[in-house]
Amino acid sequence: MKRLLFLANLLTFSALQAQTDSVRTLPAVDIVALRLQDFGIGHSLDQPDSVSLRLGGSLSVADVLLRQGIGQWRTYGPGGLASLSLDGSSSSQVNVTWEGIPLQSPMNGVADVAQLPTAFFDQVLVCPGANGALLGNSSMGGTLALSSLGSMAMDGWEGWLQAGAGQFGLNHLMAGIRFKRQVFSGKTVFFQRASANRFLYREPGESAPVQQEGAAFFQRAVQQQLSWQMGGGHRLTWTGWAGLFDRQLPPTASQGDLFARQVLQYAGQLGKIQVSARSGWTWDRLDYQDTVSSLDVTHNTRVAFHDLSMRRFVSKRDLMEISFQHQWALANSPQLEVGGRRIMPGALVSWRRSWSPRFSSVASLRKDWPRAEVSPWMPGLGLEGKISDQVRMFARLDRGYRLPTLNDRYWLPGGNRELLPESGWQGQLGAEGRFREVDYRLRLYRGRYDNWILWRPGASYWTPMNVREVLSQGAHLNLSRTWDWGLNGLIVRANYQWTSSKTTASLVVADGAVGKQLIYLPEHSAFGSLRWTRGIWTVSYLHRWLGSRNITSDGAYHLPAVHLAQLDAQTEWETPLGRILAQAMIDNLWNQSYQLVQGQPMPLRNISFILTLLVP
């Protein structure tokens, strides 16, 4: 058991291990993951493992990825909005999907990843880089693909119960059960967390700490999954997910999110054709209130998404996929023109060829036909090959685009029906392998994006315009080394990101942003971790360094560079009820005063505890 635990620990914080694995070894389960696995040749994937997800405590997907140095994050504090940026993109240029269904709000194009508890996902894939051909709209910077489709290999059941508490009134409760009996399987997960969130922080330049007020939050959600293995290679799965997230937004506002999502998925073999189909539907209601402005507004959004994918080996070396998608999105809001909706059919064809056991390539082409919109043809090319037993090289060229959101189009006042979609090309090149026991991966990328949409005020109200061109280029270097001494072990990981994402041209007269790094993107950042296991004890130290980040587009003002650290300790023991895991986490170990978004303070050093019971 201890050995198993160590292995679990190896997995828990060894995203790099997963990163350096070939894409093909990933246990892809949903249609997006399948598509990335089979036709994402040339891409590289980051993923935290399923153990860290299921036992992630009160952490959201944003928290877990942030702590593991994956992606760049804009976070408004504990429980506050968190959005992901990849490869120098903006948050709305990262496609966030759950079982292939877009989770970005059709109104503003942003997915709040802070609202996604790790407890609900068996797989989290981060795929940096443009991916328009495979994933369509909003995949200019990359993709965050979430899946809840974990399954058990054998009949039986397992359950888990977790409770945690932390400073500032944080508490959470999570319970889950998963079963499999012959052809039926299912999973139920309940999650709840709350916090008064009266954390301590320091104002810049001040020594005395201040207590945050008016930032409490409460989240409750349940997810249900039922799966039927029908025989003959056919499987039908239904997943439903509903919940609420209420939070106060300092100093005077509050926001309530209520949502329901469901997806029905079919996978089967029809003759020589492997068929995947899914039909998803989401509904979100957001209530925003501000006691100062007396603003009380409700936005309702609904999205229906359908995807039919057929793939077939046309020869031993060639795999082809043809797929069709249809998306329908509608927003009802007093701040949008009546009838603001999006209807977007699309089609994709991909061809993968394995030239030899070592080399393979892929070519993809997508076209979307959004109603009343213009969308470009999107090709994608990928190549990868093992140039030695230890070194794999990969390369990719993709086009990506992002349609104007419903807010961009229909906001009252200011919506602009003349906007063009943002679009651009990105190329990436990389190598990964092992050198003297050190696993490494180096990835270089360069992309140029046109028609960057920017909201600019007119004399009375703001309106979006296509005003800028942006050049993004960068390098990601990941390193890891593992020492395994039986029951004891040590994992050392490090990564460094150079991200240069600068405005190269602008229609704004005398725009001081030209030549400057985009706001909130650090040009340099690094992450390192040590994970030491001795018997049943595991201690981890995670350290992040974020370089300075511009908060004005001309680079005149910036947030200072900051070092952030976290210390975790974990142990476990067997009881008649099952296995109990106990964790303690100290966040912001060095008590740094910092902000990830200007004006949004982050907590000083704080501690939390988690107790988990795993049955059987």
Binding site: A459, S460, Y461, V508, V509, D511, I519, T552, D554
Partner: protein
């Protein structure tokens, strides 16, 4: 040893003399602080507001003048400023405060908090002031001597610019499309006058007539308009409608008060106070720049136009002569939103 004849002594004496002369020559004259204050709103909820101090005589610029003096920014969204009885007051909208400071040094001398969303401060004499409010549904009466909030006078919705005319405070109300008249002796609303949707900006012309720039209401479809009112009998003398689809913002008068300057669709327009219609063409065009703010120096008649660029970076200010000829372009802070011209 004859020290007077020694080379060393002579050398030292010459050096000392040079130093004295040099000191005389480089003695800096006391530099007058710039009397033009550019009020930079800063990013919303980012507390990056600032004051840029500009001296039109020598075109010197002092950025972040408030922070340089006090070590901190004024707060979140510096909305406006008023000079009352020799004291400078900064109205910081989203920080819900009023900061009193010395006009020369900008050193803070006190602050008053507790407003909802303050916009403008009007001095009404005897240390009394009134503060309009975006969301407060009231005008606040403040004691500027003790920096105390004394009373709130309820009014419907958003109150904006105010003027003291013949002993009455005229208050523009954006939501109700009216002007309210407040009697400072009783702090009561004594009358109201119809204006137009989005009544916001007030100026007096050379005849003592009150000009109201009503910015319109997008949601009701009401367009912007000018309303000219004779304060003595509250009679509406003229109403000039803006073209359909036009946007309007900011209003100022020329130094002689014979002309009105305003922003329409982001461009500067000038209109004689006796004109019967809006001018057809802008008075100044800066290659497509959409101006955000407007001010006129009452001493020189020079015009200042704020350009906020993308509203997420430091803006700039165009300084024009009274004949609309460019004089200077001044680097400002983030979102230059208002101006205050101090007396010499």
């Amino acid at each position: 040893m004859n020290y007077l004849s020694s080379w060393a002594f002579r050398g030292l004496a010459i050096l000392a003399l040079c130093q004295l002369l040099a000191c005389d020559r480089t003695e800096p004259e006391p530099e007058l602080p710039g009397r033009v204050l550019i009020l930079n709103e800063g990013g919303f909820q980012q507390s990056t507001s600032s004051v840029t101090r500009y001296n039109p005589d020598n075109e010197s610029v002092s950025q972040d003048a408030f922070r340089q003096q006090n070590g901190y920014n004024p707060g979140d969204v510096l909305q406006s400023a008023s000079l009352i009885d020799g004291k400078l007051y900064l109205v910081v909208n989203n920080s819900q405060r009023l900061i009193a400071c010395e006009p020369d040094s900008l050193a803070e001398t006190g602050r008053l908090e507790g407003f909802t969303s303050p916009r403008f401060l009007l001095g009404a004499g005897n240390g009394k002031g009134y503060v309009s409010d975006l969301f407060g549904g009231a005008v606040s009466k403040v004691n500027l001597t003790t920096l105390a909030l004394e009373k709130t006078i309820p009014l419907p919705g958003w109150t904006e610019e105010m003027l003291l005319i013949d002993g009455k405070v005229w208050i523009a109300n954006y939501n109700s499309a009216k002007l309210y008249l407040l009697d400072p002796s009783t702090d009561e609303i004594v009358d109201s006058v119809e204006a137009g949707a989005g009544a916001a900006n007030l100026e007096l012309d050379a005849d003592g007539h009150l000009w109201v720039l009503c910015q319109g209401d997008f949601f009701t479809g009401a367009g912007p308009s000018f309303v000219e009112i004779r304060p003595s009998d509250k009679a509406e003398l003229r109403r000039i409608l803006f073209p359909a689809g036009a946007t309007a913002g900011d209003l100022a008068v020329s130094a002689d008060k014979d002309s009105l300057y305003f922003l329409m669709n982001g461009s500067l327009y000038a209109m004689a106070a006796n004109a019967s219609s809006l001018p057809a063409n802008p008075a100044f065009n800066a290659n497509g720049v959409s101006f955000y703010s407007l001010g006129v120096d009452p001493l020189t008649g020079e015009i200042y136009l704020g350009d906020a660029l993308d509203y997420a970076q430091r803006g700039r200010v165009f300084r024009l002569s009274a004949a609309f000829q460019p004089i200077d372009t001044v680097a400002a802070g983030i979102i230059p939103g208002d101006f205050l011209f101090l007396p010499e």
